[in-house]
Amino acid sequence: MAKRSAPEVNAGSMADIAFLLLIFFLVTTDIATDSGLNRKLPPMIEDVVDPPKIKERNIFQINVNRANQIFLKADGEERLIGLKDLRAAAVKFLDNGGGTGVDACKRCQGAKNSNSSDNFDKAIISLSNDRLTKYKTYIAVQNEIIAAYNELRDREFRRDFPNLKMSYVEANERYLDPQTPPKEREDLKEKLETIKLLIPQKFSEAETKSN
């Protein structure tokens, strides 16, 4: 008797099975959003100690009102500012370097305006907002502040470590990437810390106003 060939398996329902699985995964999963703006909240302090004296020229005061307009009080003047100009204004303020003597800022490349910040370490950005401010405006303002710091940190990082050919942000990403070899991470950590120390993020948030 001739060898009988094995009967062919009907694969017509394969597509249905695959569709079923596909739809199951579409329904039960989410595209991962696991990135965002990292911030640290200030710890609660029970008894009020005397607040340290800060010169007004060292504060970059941002106030967002309930109509999502941004008021800026810095460099000895008060004005309404658009969101897109905020980053440049913050960089200009941080990079001013108006300090003299002990407070002189060797690395600042700004205008050295005596009405603006002394140096990176003294410059403080303060943000207050209304209870009715929209969250997206708040995030945009936070984003611009972080961007201003990153811009300066990038500049100083490239200046200090030109052979790495990376910006501060890229180096930080590489440091956080678990695939980076541990030796390189150690090295990067040290370099990132130096820059963080050089340009600290001094950011203060006032408690939200209720009216």
Partner: protein
């Protein structure tokens, strides 16, 4: 006489669907790789704002999620359209934050406790009032590492529309 005549030969040949399963499997694998299983079932609208200075959340460290937004369409009748907090699959009030963080901490190994990050997934239309209240509560329980979860995009353009 038969009503049903046999079709004449020579029409268009049927399109082969033999590769359909392959295509669907390809899609399936794409979704399996690109997505994660939903952590919580959302009861609120949660359209995240965009920002471009974002950092990846370190998944090795524990993360707790707090969702804020206005109740989704099914729940508007019952809960109104004011932004609310959602913790684990339930609506919650500001006073529930402290017990929630305590419960999250209780589930962690001790050495991971200071690394707990609270990710705030807040709808872009929410008001800052409720967000400030949550932040204040988090300060009270000393959960100070927070992350404003955002999508990648232009923040300035995102805030203007």
């Amino acid at each position: 006489m038969s009503k049903f005549k046999k079709k004449k030969e020579g029409g268009l040949p049927p399109i082969s669907t033999a590769s359909l399963p392959d295509i669907v499997f390809m899609l399936l694998f794409f979704f399996m790789v690109a997505t994660v299983i939903k952590e919580d079932n959302l009861l609120i609208e949660n359209k995240l704002p965009s920002a471009d200075q974002i950092e990846k959340l370190d998944k090795k460290n524990p993360v707790s999620y707090i969702y804020i937004g206005k109740p989704s369409a099914n729940y508007v009748d019952k809960f109104g359209s004011e932004a609310r907090i959602q913790l684990n699959d339930k609506y919650a009030g500001v006073e529930d934050i402290a017990p929630f963080i305590a419960a999250e901490r209780a589930a962690l190994r001790e050495e991971l406790l200071p690394k707990l990050t609270v990710a705030l997934k807040v709808d872009s239309e929410a008001n800052m009032g409720i967000v400030s209240d949550v932040k204040q509560e988090l300060r009270k329980v000393n959960a100070l590492k927070i992350n404003y979860t955002t999508r990648k995009g232009d923040a300035v353009a995102g805030a203007e529309n």
